[in-house]
């Protein structure tokens, strides 16, 4: 069953066509890679799916429901969560609070409960905290739970961002260049982590990366974008041998 279906999406910025006629189908449990050289439009595609931009033409469906006109916060509510290429944590909040925030849209407390500190609030806050700590433990961040997010080392900030995204209990997780700035060993570990997340949380993952090795190692299906256009789609093996992909990455002969 397809969970995400992007059909004939076009996005223009003035005269520049950033995304040309994009088609993309993700099935339940897929680990789908989206690659392409710098500036190919990968992040724009992410922003289309998460509602930061709206496509000029075409539709985006999550489990059959059209979402291309919805606000980002509403789309997060439908079950799409993401991380950012340049890490966007809530810097002045603690590690724990960052993950707790992810539970915000599932809150049962009303403004009234919050102001009067009712038992409902206490119960829910405690539940949120227990859940958040469990999630942090999975990413071995529980020891730094009460540190400020901005004081974490780079690698931990990346992990925290993934933990926070998972805190919203998404059906589809979008990872924007998770291996950026990591050395080969760290990227290797990250690949294992990503595969493990997919199996453990039973979610679908869409991965943007320009580091070919990461994508080839972990994804079952890869779509290659260049200048906003899809130039290849297939298994990592097929992609690697595709002359158009080689040309896009290495330049024409």
């Amino acid at each position: 069953m397809s969970i995400l279906e992007v059909a004939n999406c076009i996005k223009r910025f003035g005269g520049l066509v950033a995304v040309k006629d994009l088609n993309m189908t993700l099935n339940q449990g897929d680990l789908y890679g989206l690659i392409g050289p710098n500036g190919a439009g990968k992040t724009t595609i992410f922003n289309l799916i998460t509602g930061v931009y709206q496509p000029d033409e075409g539709t985006i469906k999550l489990e059959g429901r059209e979402i291309q006109r919805a606000k980002p916060s509403a789309i997060a509510g439908f079950g799409i969560s993401r991380t950012f290429q340049n890490i966007r944590l809530f810097q002045s909040m603690t590690v724990l609070e960052n993950v707790k925030l992810a539970r915000h849209m599932r809150r049962k407390q009303q403004l009234f409960d919050a102001v009067l500190c009712t038992p409902t609030l206490h119960r829910e806050e405690e539940e949120i905290e227990v859940g958040a700590l469990e999630l942090l433990k999975i990413f071995s961040l529980d020891t730094v739970a009460f540190e400020l997010a901005r004081n974490l080392p780079y690698g931990s900030q990346r992990r925290l961002e993934i933990a926070r995204a998972l805190g919203t209990k998404p059906k589809l997780l979008l990872l924007d260049e998770p291996a950026a700035g990591m050395n080969p060993l760290e990227s290797q570990e990250l690949m294992h982590l990503i595969r493990w997340i997919r199996d453990e949380f039973k979610i679908t993952i869409l991965l943007v990366e320009h580091n070919m090795k990461v994508v080839m190692g972990v994804c079952q299906k890869v779509q290659v974008i260049d200048y906003g256009e899809t130039i290849a789609l297939g298994t990592p093996k097929e992609i690697q041998d595709d002359p158009r992909v080689i040309e896009a990455y290495l330049g024409g002969a």
Binding site: S81, F84, L89, Q91, K100, L101, M105, Q109, T168
Partner: protein
């Protein structure tokens, strides 16, 4: 249970303070400057309500609003107008109550009207302007504050440029500090809840907040409205203390004074706002003796604090806001 006990204790303490320190010592007692000290005490309380509420939108939600004096004015005039119009009727219908009781009912009516009207003003200003960010929002809110003032200046029914006279004195130490406690508790409880996390997430990173499912526009408006409602309450308490309102009290200078309080105290710290409100109000009074040099000394104090403590006296530290920790299981 503990909570209600705390509330009851706070009310009792305030009543006792009102009856002993304020009534016996300051107003009719041996201290010659008693009434003056009393007046400063009240002003400090009103400024605390204003600063703490402004901190919710500026410090916690991170939206730079400088039109707080406008909401303060709306509350003051709304309450004064309601009380002077229906005052006699209320006194008649409630003639079976002692006069303190009648006054209390009247004041609460005024405060409710003030909160309601300022809240509505908050919605009207908030919905269009909170799409703007940073400097743009600051300019719009500044403009709004001035619009309110000019508007009031031209309505004859509420005194216009002559000022609003004949407002009964209904608020006193007890009422002002009761609402100080209510404002501080409300903001503190909010910040410690899911709502507070949403506000702070908007301040830290709006795009990430939206991606995590926080409807940023809605929460910005929410914090703006709560903030303006408390400004309105402060206005009602102010009008029923000074018994006279003039539009010139509510210029943007007042808004800036409030901004200074929360910045000096530390944006995003409730105790900071309280401290800032107390300091600025008292400093301005203490320096009154310096005559025309008052504002010069005041400015130098500000420059010194900002040079050596740019994050404000409290920073974003808070003793009231201990993170809740789950007991080991």
């Amino acid at each position: 249970m503990k909570k209600w006990f705390g509330a009851l204790a706070a009310i009792t303490i305030l009543i006792v303070l009102q009856l002993t320190v304020v009534d016996r010592l300051l107003l009719t007692g041996p201290i010659q400057e008693g009434p003056y000290i009393h007046q400063i005490l009240i002003l400090v309380g009103i400024n605390i309500i204003l600063a703490v509420s402004l901190n919710l939108i500026n410090g916690f939600t991170g939206q730079f609003s400088i039109g707080h004096a406008g909401f303060f004015a709306v509350g003051a005039y709304a309450s004064a107008f309601l009380v002077t119009t229906v005052g006699d009727q209320v006194h008649q219908t409630l003639s079976f109550l002692p006069s303190t009781g009648q006054d209390a009912v009247l004041l609460i009516l005024g405060i409710l009207a003030a909160a309601l009207l300022s809240g509505i003003a908050g919605v009207i200003v908030g919905i269009p302007s909170l799409r703007l960010r940073g400097d743009y929002l600051a300019i719009v809110t500044l403009g709004f504050g001035e619009i309110i003032r000019v508007f009031i200046l031209n309505i004859n029914a509420i005194g216009g440029s002559r000022g609003f006279t004949g407002i009964p004195r209904l608020s006193n130490f007890f009422w002002v500090y009761l609402f100080v406690v209510i404002a501080v508790m409300t903001v503190q409880n909010l910040i410690n809840s899911s709502y507070g996390r949403a506000f702070i997430s908007i301040r830290d990173d709006e795009i990430a907040a939206e991606a995590m499912g926080v409807d940023t526009t809605r929460f910005k408006v929410m914090s703006f409205v709560i903030s303006s409602m408390f400004a309105g309450v402060a206005g009602a308490l102010f009008g029923h203390f000074t018994m006279y309102l003039h539009p010139n009290t509510f210029t943007f200078i007042k808004s800036f004074e409030l901004i200074i309080m929360i910045v000096i105290g530390g944006l995003g710290s409730i105790e900071g706002s309280i401290l800032g409100a107390v300091l600025i109000t008292v400093i301005l009074e203490v320096f009154r003796g310096f005559g025309p040099y008052r504002l010069v000394i005041f400015s130098i104090t500000l420059i010194l604090i900002m040079t050596y403590r740019p994050q404000g006296i409290m920073g974003s530290k808070s003793f009231l806001l201990k993170p809740r920790r789950v007991r080991a299981k």
